[in-house]
């Protein structure tokens, strides 16, 4: 019921509110002696070259996509895992088929070099 989740939600709110308090305390308490040099982007003491927001490798995108697919797989298995014994063998075989189907995808990605990082 909803009332069981009230403490949980409260804790999340408390956590973020205290984090905000920390942030404002940091900004309020800290010394302020700003110079232009201090405000530049740190690049090992050199004058920064260009903008940091450049396009980066598509591999990170591949990791995120694979993550979504397998994450959804994992999520679908949670309800089964809680009911393992009551559901019986049929459900277990169904889950194995499910995992095998996804493993085919995993294998395809492996062969195509989706997990290669070079």
């Amino acid at each position: 019921m909803l009332i069981e989740y009230v403490p949980l939600i409260l804790m999340v709110i408390v956590g973020f509110v205290l984090a905000v308090v920390f942030l404002f305390a940091a900004e309020w308490l800290g010394a302020r002696r700003t110079t232009r040099e201090k405000q530049t982007t740190y690049e090992s003491g050199m004058i920064p070259v260009g903008n940091a927001r450049q396009r980066f490798s598509v591999k990170f995108y591949m990791v995120a996509v694979s993550f979504i697919v397998f994450d959804i797989e994992v999520v679908f298995l949670y309800p089964w895992a809680t009911q393992l014994t009551t559901l019986g063998l049929t459900a277990f075989i169904a889950v194995i088929i499910f995992i095998v189907i996804l493993f085919a995808g995993y294998f395809y990605e492996l062969v195509k070099g989706g997990f290669n990082w070079d």
Binding site: F56, I68, V69, P79, E109
Partner: protein, 169 residues
């Protein structure tokens, strides 16, 4: 006023506000982040319906996985430039208005049809929406759709690889 009602009102207002920020913000990263916030509010709304599993999944999958991909793509394409995002083609606006009006009509229909009776969560929902009961139903009655989801996810992986590999070469 019941606890559920207070919860619903606060969450609904915040959800709508964050949705508006999502579509009006100029910076795509802020847009994406307010969508994440919106998903949190949606998860809260699911809790008011006793759908705990769906609430957790809403955060786990949408906020934790899909929006991470969206943020990655925003950074990947370096969409800092707001000028490029301006809409020039008008057909989309027409469709948007049409869909919005359908939604408003739907709201009124639901309101008119259910005005007589007080809307309450059905007796069984509290029992039906736990993780355990979802497992019971999904792995007995809906076994075939479950396997179909497996095939769908397989197609998603293959599609992603084909797209990414074509981009690389």
């Amino acid at each position: 006023m019941s606890l559920t009602f207070i919860f619903f009102t606060v969450l609904a207002i915040l959800a709508i506000a964050s949705a508006i920020v999502t579509i009006t913000a100029r910076n795509p990263v802020i847009s994406a982040l307010s969508l994440v916030f919106h998903f949190f509010m949606l998860a809260g709304l699911y809790l008011t319906l006793n759908a705990q599993f769906i609430a957790a999944i809403q955060i786990l999958v949408y906020a934790g996985a899909i929006m991470v991909l969206v943020i990655f793509v925003i950074m990947l394409l370096n969409l800092g430039d707001e000028e490029k995002l301006k809409e020039k083609f008008n057909l989309r606006k027409v469709i948007a208005v049409l869909l919005a009006s359908v939604l408003i009509i739907q709201f009124f229909l639901i309101y008119l049809l259910t005005r007589s009776g007080k809307i309450e969560i059905a007796e069984n929902t509290a029992k039906l929406s736990t993780v355990q009961s979802i497992g019971q139903v999904l792995f007995s009655e809906y076994l075939l759709p479950f396997e179909a989801i497996g095939l769908l996810l397989l197609a998603a992986i293959i599609g992603a690889i084909v797209l990414a590999k074509r981009k690389l070469t």
